[in-house]
């Protein structure tokens, strides 16, 4: 067995083991067993790093290892499950392991003193296990299974503080919304399986290439798979669960709802890019682009610091999806990688702020104020320098400022959209989505920074109790800030304006498997052409966005309130999140619940009560009639008549029943004699 597979097996099952140990014995272990999960994830991280090192040593773009076993075999129906390890897998494994380790370490302090501390770590381990399943899968079945398991751990972690109704609602919403996407995913899987007869990626690719599935079916199947990604990566119209998911503990938001799980959809799209038809990709691109812009429009009016980040995540995921749709799927994966680092960083920073705000509120016995509301913050820079710097780095990276990682990946995506639009001028909206979102991203991120860290504090009473977070919470911040620098992605080159590094070498564009689909070299050519334009435009856009935020929230030379008043309808739409939730409540939840009630009523109070029991009533009615005839006519008159006459006869004959045996004998003999005489004569 290949060494990579062996490592992968350990990486896969170690968190599961930790989960099992934590679930059953966590409460009894010293320190509630957090070291079990943390130890497991650190070993995983070590192995992931060594796999990564092995990949760099190989430095082979076509590196791939695959190993599978038969999960079930019914003769003609066979499911094989296994691991597929190539460069993308290894990079993703490292991302998961890294962010997950950071999140574990961060949680030691963040979750300190929680009554279900051990449970929390067991859920984290379960998540890591499931996520690695998605990453390692070489087939749709394991992918789908891990997909749902990830949903489960997300459900459990969002609803971790289940005493709060909002938290448990959010968990449920996340799971159900994901299920909606999964239905499409499942239908896609079935379409592929029906046509190709196998679930494994390689058979899938071969089948598509051979034309076993083509045309509209392939498009529908591809869109089906994409539905899964829409659910998991919170794309419009299924984005509604992700902002609510912020009810979970912040390290969870950083790990699951920013860096890894929500990226699973993108990961899957990148993996299966080869089976997407042009039509399917167009849908993908539009949904992604729209989501990117739409979510950033909502983000600019959020008051809650985590909500800003949540909508920013939705928007960034939209970017990645958009990029997949335009064919620049490697750029999407690149953005996934960089985004994982800086967005986790931002969430950890936000968590740090919330943690100390919470602490401060606790000190002054204020339990009504929301510790996440940015209107209660301000001026935290001086009190929390490390948090400030790291969040600033993160914001710079996400806004696409040069020398930071986000610039490189964002640039590639925007270049992809430009290239696509230049080939298909009809779809000029896609780059507009992209650049518009980039502008807004820069704006709302710096709005957040300025509101939180700059100017004078809004609440002096809390401010006095604010202090920097402990070391274990600072460590992930510092580490991830460093990883948000461009240098780690351009090595062995040092050009901050070009992504020509190890990543570009190891992750090559490949031709689509769809006959007549996108070819690798045309994509790369397009990217190359649009590279400069995209870079310049994105720089301008980012500068504009940051500048606007600076004017509005730092210098206050433009009053935010006035702007809001000026565009009141738009402002209301944005602050109301475009009323998507309300819409769904109105056109989906309530009608479905009403339908359910109606059906239940129909079933129980009409169908059963009247139809089924009606049979009973009719039968009772009939039997009453028959019973009457039977009793009055046949029984009382006929049968009882016989009985009565017998009774009368009995009364007469009773006289001779004296009870004396000897008389009986006498009577019997007399009778015999009479009989004999009568017979003889």
């Amino acid at each position: 067995m290949n060494i990579f597979i062996k490592y992968a097996l350990v990486i896969y099952f170690l968190p599961l083991l930790a989960f099992i140990i934590q679930t059953f014995f966590g409460n009894k272990l010293p320190r509630k067993g957090d070291w079990v999960s943390i130890g497991a994830i650190l070993i995983t991280l070590t192995l992931a790093i060594s796999m990564f090192a092995g990949m760099l040593l190989n430095y082979d773009p076509d590196f791939v290892v695959q190993e599978s076993f038969t999960w079930m075999n019914l003769g003609n129906f066979k499911i094989e499950i296994g691991f597929l390890i190539d460069n993308m897998t290894i990079i993703m494994l490292l991302v998961v392991a890294l962010i997950s380790s950071m999140s574990h370490i961060y949680s030691i302090k963040y979750m300190e003193g929680d009554p279900r501390y051990h449970r929390y770590f067991s859920f984290l381990s379960l998540f890591t296990f499931s996520m690695n399943g998605i990453v390692l899968a070489d087939n749709l079945v394991l992918l789908y299974m891990s997909w749902e398991l990830v949903g489960l751990s997300s459900y459990l972690l969002i609803g971790f503080w289940f005493e709060k109704d909002s938290a448990s609602n959010a968990g449920k919403k996340a799971f159900l919304t994901n299920r909606v996407g999964d239905i499409g995913f499942f239908i896609g899987i079935m379409l592929f399986f029906t046509a190709i007869g196998s679930f494994s990626y390689s058979d899938l690719f071969a089948g598509v290439q051979a034309g076993k599935i083509a045309g509209a079916t392939l498009t529908v199947a591809g869109i089906g798979l994409f539905m899964g990604a829409v659910g998991k990566s919170a794309q419009f119209p299924l984005h509604i669960w992700l902002p609510d998911a912020m009810e979970g503990p912040t390290p969870v938001s950083a790990l699951i709802h920013a860096a890894t799980m929500v990226a699973a959809g993108v990961y899957m799209m990148v993996r299966l890019f080869g089976v997407m038809t042009a039509d399917a990709l167009l849908v993908v691109a539009y949904i992604g682009g729209f989501t990117a812009l739409f979510a950033s429009l909502i983000a600019i009016t959020r008051k809650d610091i985590k909500q800003v980040l949540a909508y920013s995540t939705v928007s960034q995921l939209g970017y990645m999806i958009l990029s997949v749709g335009t064919g620049a799927y490697i750029a999407a994966f690149f953005h996934l990688l960089t985004h994982a680092m800086f967005k986790a960083n931002l969430f950890f920073g936000a968590g740090s702020v919330i943690h100390s705000m919470h602490h401060g509120l606790h000190k002054i016995d204020d339990h009504d104020t929301d510790p996440q509301d940015m209107n209660n913050m301000g001026g935290l820079k001086s009190k929390m320098p490390v948090t400030y710097i790291s969040m600033l780095v993160g914001s710079l990276a996400i806004s696409g400022v040069p020398f930071f990682s986000g610039f490189l990946s964002k640039d590639a995506i925007l270049a992809g959209t430009l290239a696509y639009a230049s080939h298909n001028p009809a779809h000029f909206l896609l780059p507009v989505f992209g650049f518009g979102a980039a502008l807004l991203t820069a704006f709302y991120m710096f709005r957040m920074i300025f509101l939180t860290f700059h100017n004078e504090p809004k609440r002096e009473d809390i401010f006095g109790h604010i202090h920097e977070s402990p070391a274990v919470m600072k460590l992930p911040l510092i580490l991830l800030s460093i990883l948000s620098l461009f240098i780690f992605y351009t090595l062995p080159h040092f050009n901050p304006f070009s992504d020509m590094g190890w990543f570009k070498h190891l992750m090559e564009y490949k031709d689509s498997f769809v006959p007549g689909g996108i070819l690798a070299h045309s994509t790369e050519e397009g990217l190359h052409h649009s590279h400069m334009t995209a870079m310049i435009m994105s720089l301008i856009v980012a500068a504009f966005g940051i500048g606007l935020a600076w004017l509005m929230y730092f210098k206050r030379s433009i009053s935010a309130e006035k702007v809001a008043l000026a565009i009141k309808p738009l402002y209301r739409l944005s602050s109301g999140k475009f009323f998507i939730d309300e819409l769904y409540t109105k056109i989906l939840y309530k009608p479905v619940l009403k339908l359910a009630d109606a059906v239940a009523y129909l079933d129980w109070d009409l169908y059963d009560k009247y139809f089924i029991n009606g049979f009973g009533r009719v039968t009772t009615f009939l039997s009453n009639i028959v019973g009457k005839i039977d009793y009055e006519g046949i029984d009382q008159t006929l049968v009882d008549g016989i009985g009565r006459s017998a009774n009368r006869a009995g009364k007469v004959l009773r006289v001779i029943q004296t009870g004396r045996v000897q008389q009986y004998i006498l009577f019997a003999l007399t009778a015999i004699i009479i009989l004999l005489i009568w017979k003889a004569s």
Binding site: N73, D165, V599, A600
Partner: protein, 516 residues
């Protein structure tokens, strides 16, 4: 016939019953112990049977055949194959656990366990019987104890529920009896199922009743008989009522075993003896499965009584099995000889049958646990129990998530197989019923949230957590559920050969004729 496993399985509960008959009625502990020992031994025999079972063979194994009423060609004929083995495994396990579930029964304990063991015999007998007459006898033997168990030990509306259950089932069995007699007289006056499987398709070929093919008529008769047990949509209303009113252990048996008789009967009798009819009726089966899925899901979503919710979820879940069963026609030449899909669907249906047995049993046991403590089952009347009863919450979580088909649990695998199998033939139906999984998740999660999440209801601050005995009843089922969900291969290996035989039967006959 070296080992008479099957007779042991059938008669062990009867032996227990006889022993109980000699125990004074006030020695309840001894009575319960005897019942536990009898069913426990049955489990042991079932495990031995399973270990000895040759999964490479698709035919009947461990057959036992003795003349019973020779003048009518009736035999005491038992046997097991891949179709019945899962249920033969499940029945003793659930019976054994149900004894522990009903440990706290205090009303007429002797009568209760006597009837319970009789019920056990009836159930396992139906799965093992290979003679139609014997089959019918066991079928009725099972019905009567059930009537009394619901009617005497049930909830407030027990008499109504028991009568309804009884009439419904009796209606079905009468139709079934007619069909059995028709088969008997048309196919050489034999009740032997194996013989009928060989001869019936040929003997009934071309027979017309009132201008309709006799096969169709018999199919419908048998279908209604079995559909009531499944229960298939228009015949389902006895189920919520019976489940709600029955004592916990009986609900477990009802959902875990009795509902399986329908699917089992359809596969054994309808598919085996009237394969031509399958081609004709499969579409209807798939459609009814769809209705079951959606209707059951919607009804479950609207319930506030937890037990009723679980009952409707049974309807929902059996719909998947029906859809999987219908997939068998994918193998016919008209549908492109897709044997893979047929195997997936049919095996999935049998697997779903088993899984629903374990999962719904688990759910009912847990409902019983909460009912014992809170004395009501109103979902909205709980709240925040996760804080008060963490272990119970964890176990209930496993059961609920198994119910909503989470991967890693057996329910997912079978639902997946049913859908994948049926998809090539019944594309629209499968796509619509895929939304059933959404409903499925919705009602389970919503109920879970309302019961366990939120602030703890002050009424329940003193509620004790699940105790050892109850855990003992649930944990084995949870373990089975997870094991089969993680690696179903070996279990499916036992089933698959028999399924191949059934598929071949259907395909060979189904491809030949169009029924008038």
């Amino acid at each position: 016939m070296d080992t008479m496993y099957l007779s042991w399985l059938v008669w062990l509960p009867v032996a227990g019953m006889v022993v109980i008959a000699f125990i004074p009625r006030d020695k309840t502990e001894i009575i319960k112990t005897v019942a536990a020992v009898a069913t426990g031994l049955q489990v042991w025999v079932a495990i031995l049977l399973w270990l000895d079972f040759d999964s490479a063979s698709g035919t009947i194994q461990f057959a036992e055949k003795l003349a019973w009423i020779p003048s009518f060609n009736i035999f005491y004929h038992l046997g097991v194959d891949g179709l019945s083995l899962p249920m033969v495994m499940l029945t003793p396990i659930l019976s054994f656990l149900a004894v522990f579930v009903s440990w706290k029964t205090d009303r007429a304990v002797k009568g209760y366990f006597t009837l319970f063991l009789l019920l056990d015999t009836g159930m396992i007998g139906v799965f093992l019987a290979l003679d139609f007459f014997l089959f019918y006898v066991f079928w009725e033997v099972m019905l009567l104890p059930m009537y009394f168990l619901i009617g005497i030990w049930g909830g407030p509306k027990r008499e109504y529920a028991a009568i309804k259950f009884f009439l419904f089932t009796l209606f079905g069995s009468v139709l079934m009896l007619v069909a059995i007699l028709a088969l008997y007289f048309y196919c050489g006056q034999t009740f032997d199922m194996l013989v009928l499987i060989d001869t019936a398709p040929m003997a009934l070929d071309g027979v017309l009743w009132w201008g309709i093919s006799a096969i169709k008529v018999i199919w419908i008769l048998l279908f209604i008989g079995f559909a009531i047990k499944v229960p298939v949509f228009p015949f389902h209303t006895w189920l919520p009522l019976a489940h709600v009113e029955a004592p916990t252990a009986i609900s477990v048996i009802l959902a875990g075993v009795l509902l399986k008789l329908g699917v089992y009967g359809l596969l054994r009798v309808n598919y085996g003896m009237l394969p031509d009819g399958v081609m004709w009726f499969a579409g209807a089966i798939a459609f009814l499965g769809l209705v079951n899925v959606i209707w059951g899901g919607l009804c479950a979503l609207a319930q506030t009584d937890l037990k009723k919710l679980v009952a409707y979820s049974s309807i929902n879940h059996m719909g998947y099995a029906l859809i999987g069963m219908a997939a068998v026609i994918a193998a016919s030449s008209a549908n492109g000889s897709n044997f893979g899909a047929a195997e997936a669907g049919l095996t999935g249906a049998v697997f779903q049958m088993f899984n629903h047995g374990t999962i719904s049993a688990m759910l009912f046991i847990l409902v019983g646990v909460i009912y014992d403590r809170a004395h009501h089952r109103d979902i909205n009347g709980f709240g925040g129990l996760a804080k008060q009863m963490p272990i119970f919450t964890a176990v209930a979580g496993v059961a609920f998530f198994a119910g909503l088909g989470l991967p890693g649990m057996s329910g997912f695998v079978s639902e997946f197989m049913c859908f994948v199998g049926a998809f090539p033939v019944f594309r629209t139906i499968v796509i619509i019923s895929a939304f059933g999984i959404l409903l499925n998740a919705a009602y389970f999660l919503w109920a879970f949230q309302r019961i366990f999440f939120g602030e703890l209801n002050e009424k329940y601050t003193k509620l004790p957590d699940i105790n050892g005995r109850e855990l003992f009843a649930v944990i084995p089922l949870a373990v089975i559920t997870i094991l089969l969900g993680v690696y179903p291969g070996p279990f499916l290996d036992m089933i698959k050969e028999t399924m191949t035989v059934i598929i071949d039967q259907v395909v060979i006959w189904g491809d030949m004729a169009v029924l008038p």
